[in-house]
Amino acid sequence: MRGRIMLTPQDIQNLENHQRAWSRRTFLGKSAQAIGTLALGSIMNPGLLGQAGTWRGVLDAPHYYPKAKRVVHLCMAGGPSHVDLFDPKPVLNRLHGQPFPESFTKGEQLAQLQGSELLARGAKVGFRRCGISGQMISDLLPHTQTIADDICIVRSMHTEQINHDPAHAFMNAGSINKGRPSMGSWLLYGLGSEAENLPGYVVLVSEGGGGAQPISARQWSAGFLPSKFQGVQFQSRGAPVHYVGNPEGVCQSTQRQVIDEVARLNGLQQERSLDPEIETRVSQYELAFKMQTSVPELADISEEPQSMLDLYGVKEAGDGSFAANCLLARRLLERGSRFVQLYHRGWDHHSKLDTNIQVASKLVDQASAALVKDLKQRGMLEDTLVIWGGEFGRTPMGQGTGRDHHINAFSVWMAGGGIRPGMTWGSTDDLGYRYLNDGQEMHVHDLHATMLACFGIDHKKLTYRYQGRDFRLTDVHGYVARGILA
């Protein structure tokens, strides 16, 4: 039997549909759209659809034995200062207030500091060796200090984009070009989601901290992938999803009938024109129907004991705080979501750094640490990858009372999901200006490659053919940082 392709009538019909759509589109000259359907062979293959029609992922199985099953990305939008939080620089502190050595900055790209006098700015708050691993973490993050032995601090991060929007695009999709899928979309495309009643890719945007950074839905876009792989943004204040209840007079069975009828009509349309967006629409209707019960259950944190709320520092459920979102993120991860992204938007400290960084740290520190601890005690840290960090860092040079954007070095930390705990990876020069080429440098592409490696995915093999060539999250770059894999 093996080695021969057995076609069922269903397969043949799919093939005919495919060919019909192809020839008509070619005839009509809608070539750009038609190329998008090239990949449909795999998208529409019913073999890839699981039990309830859920997407099982384009990969039959991971390339290697996987460690991670889920990611929670705690995105510190604005760019936290690495020299104040995770990368202590005694030399910089000594130079505080003096001119920044020109040898470092000559000919370098600067954001808002262009043309101004560059003065070194040391860290105001001290650092401390933490845990058995002895990692250096600022006293600004007392709770993060308690999980030092569970996290891997990467000090050699660097990126290519010096302004927020492109830098976020770069961090999420590995490119600033529009239409490139975000990392969460790639993961959903590759592996599918285990959550049958909730979106596999959820975005939560937190409030509080002032100076909210603008972020855009482009950051969780599916790009050229079918849009069912895009991130779904939940409301952070009040109910996560609006209008999930039925209108007055509509019962659940009526609702079911409506959904079924819409699906039937969409199916008719799909027989005539093969458009992946119809497929997306059908699955979104189905998911939305399931979410009518699953979302209220998800958001109902009355079953969480007070001690759990205290651990995260949640004052009130659904208050839009980072803490409440961390708790919600854990509940999403428990229910099988593949990728949860949390944004905190208070990290763009061009001025009043000393007070602002305290405010921002206070808002995220406890809940971030609590999330790691909570995942750990539930045994979920084994297969949940936690990534904490911004889209870039901040200059070791002062900008008035703050710091400017900085792309040559910044710090992130990762935990769980196959990342070796209690270690620091990579380093920067004496002033925290640039990552060192010591074999431990970590470009954003390298971060992506390493993240995929935790899932057992070879970043060079997860591709999608679009506009005539195979695209991947790391494009033509990326090295896996094997040294931080457990």
Binding site: R2, G50, Q51, E194, G336, R378, G379, G456
Partner: protein, 478 residues
């Protein structure tokens, strides 16, 4: 000079065939002469043949004596061979003297041939080992031998079934009981450990430091290369197995599966013993069964990687609908499950009996279930279990204590249970002790083997120094 002696000595197997040929020619001619008058041997011809046999026998005895002085042979066999050799020579000389006295001559010729045959067989035994000639005959007569050997890889003992047979086939003819070149014998574990004149044959744990392999690694042209050029050489996979065995502690006792061999090693062993490789379930079969189970039970079953049959099962998806009955239905894929998540399901202690088949299980999640201490007693067979999640269950310290039998356990989650810190610390200590104990036990076994391998050697002081000899290649024929 001694090299010349050595050379002359090695001519023995060649020269012995001169008297053998002469004597058998004589027998043939005499028998033919008794049958037909015209075939009768003339006196002159008889004199020539008998003289040749005598001359050959004298040279052969001389060469043989030198060979016996220089080679390392079994003393009793060698003595017997020498006596028989002289007896044969004596009879041959007697033939020369008595060739005219018909009746005595015929009788003497018969005796000479008997002595010659005995001597020849004895010489063969010296070179090839005692049972060289008779072993195949015995096997043929006896049909299948009583000891059928291992029937499956799970039964294979590394030294007994893998290492020893290949050493026997490739080394023991020169390094055995009857002939032990360089005072080295490789026909028993104790002898291997004791080593030879140049030192121990193997260094436990270090293949590259082991003389046995160092000699093998030498280029074929090197005169110290073993086995000598022209002798059957061990195959690549045999060498790989020897290396692996030495690097894994070179123990005499020990099952193959206990050493958790790499797939290549397993394949090599299976090929050598002609056994099937049944250790891995078939991927396609498992995936087909998995599809069926998925649709039947509403659980998620996925392959862990593109290669290998290993599966991860997510029963959490089915929630309370997944219970003891459903767990039993995982039977067809039980041997392929690496990770099993039954968190929040309705499995009970009784149902966990089904875990006995899941010998490959690495990660098991039973959090928020009705499992209690009684269920943990079912875990005894999970020798590969590394991670066990029991948070929010009814387990107690007593249950945790019973987990000390899981050799690979590294992570245990007992959040929101009655388990105390003392109990988990005791478990950690017990597991560590267990690992230490098994390490010590294997070291102890090695030491005991070495002690038993030490033979009694009286010390005569400096007058009898240890002679470090070069290895001598054995005979090429004979």
């Amino acid at each position: 000079m001694s090299d010349l002696m050595e050379f002359v000595g090695r001519l023995h197997p060649l020269v012995v065939h001169v008297p053998i040929g002469g004597l058998f020619l004589l027998v043939g001619a005499e028998v033919a002469g008794a049958w037909r008058e015209k075939l009768k041997l003339s006196d002159g011809a008889r004199l020539v043949v008998v003289s040749m046999a005598v001359a050959g026998a004298i040279v052969a005895v001389g060469c043989g004596w030198l060979r016996g002085e220089n080679g390392s042979y079994d003393e009793t066999l060698l003595d017997r061979h020498r006596i028989l050799g002289f007896v044969t020579l004596g009879f041959t000389v007697l033939l020369l003297l008595l060739r005219r006295r018909k009746r005595v001559y015929k009788f003497a010729l018969g005796l000479t041939v008997v002595a010659l045959t005995l001597t020849g067989h004895n010489g063969g035994s010296l070179t090839h080992g005692r049972d060289y000639l008779t072993a195949p005959l015995a096997a043929w007569l006896g049909g299948e031998s009583d000891d059928a050997g291992p029937q499956a890889l799970a039964e294979v003992m590394v030294f007994e079934h893998v290492i020893q047979p290949s050493l026997h086939a490739k080394c023991v003819s020169c390094h055995g009981e009857t002939k032990s070149e360089g005072d080295l014998r490789l026909d028993s574990f104790a002898a291997i450990m004791a080593g030879g004149a140049t030192g121990p044959a193997i260094v436990v744990g270090d293949p590259t430091e082991s003389l046995l392999l160092q000699r093998l690694y030498l280029p074929m042209g090197d005169k110290k290369h073993m086995p000598p050029a022209g002798r059957p050489q061990p195959t690549e996979s045999e060498v790989a197995l020897w290396e692996w065995w030495i690097s894994r502690g070179a123990a005499e006792a020990g099952r193959l599966v206990e050493l958790i061999p790499d797939p290549e090693i397993l394949a090599a062993v299976a090929a050598q013993l002609g056994l099937p490789l049944p250790l891995e379930p078939d991927r396609e079969e498992m995936l087909a069964a998995a599809r069926e189970i998925e649709s039947e039970l509403g659980v998620g079953v996925r392959a862990l990687a593109v290669a290998g049959p290993w599966l991860t099962v997510n029963a959490r998806l089915a929630g309370e609908a997944f219970g003891d009955e459903q767990l039993k239905r995982l039977g067809p894929i039980a041997g392929a499950i690496h990770r099993l998540d039954m968190g929040g399901t309705s499995v009970t202690d009784v149902g966990l009996a089904a875990l006995a088949e899941m010998t490959e299980l690495r990660q098991l999640r039973l959090d928020r279930t009705a499992v209690s201490d009684a269920g943990l007693s079912r875990f005894a067979g999970l020798v590969r279990l590394e991670s066990l999640n029991l948070h929010s269950t009814a387990i107690t310290d007593a249950g945790v204590a019973s987990l000390g039998e899981l050799p690979k356990l590294r992570r245990l989650y007992v959040w929101q249970t009655a388990v105390t810190r003392e109990a988990t610390q005791a478990l950690a200590a017990a597991l560590e002790n267990r690992r230490k104990l098994s390490r010590y036990q294997s070291e102890l076994r090695t030491l005991e083997d070495r002690i038993s391998a030490e033979t009694f050697q009286p010390d005569f002081g400096y007058e009898d120094p240890v002679v470090i000899e070069e290895e001598k290649p054995g005979d090429g024929d004979g």
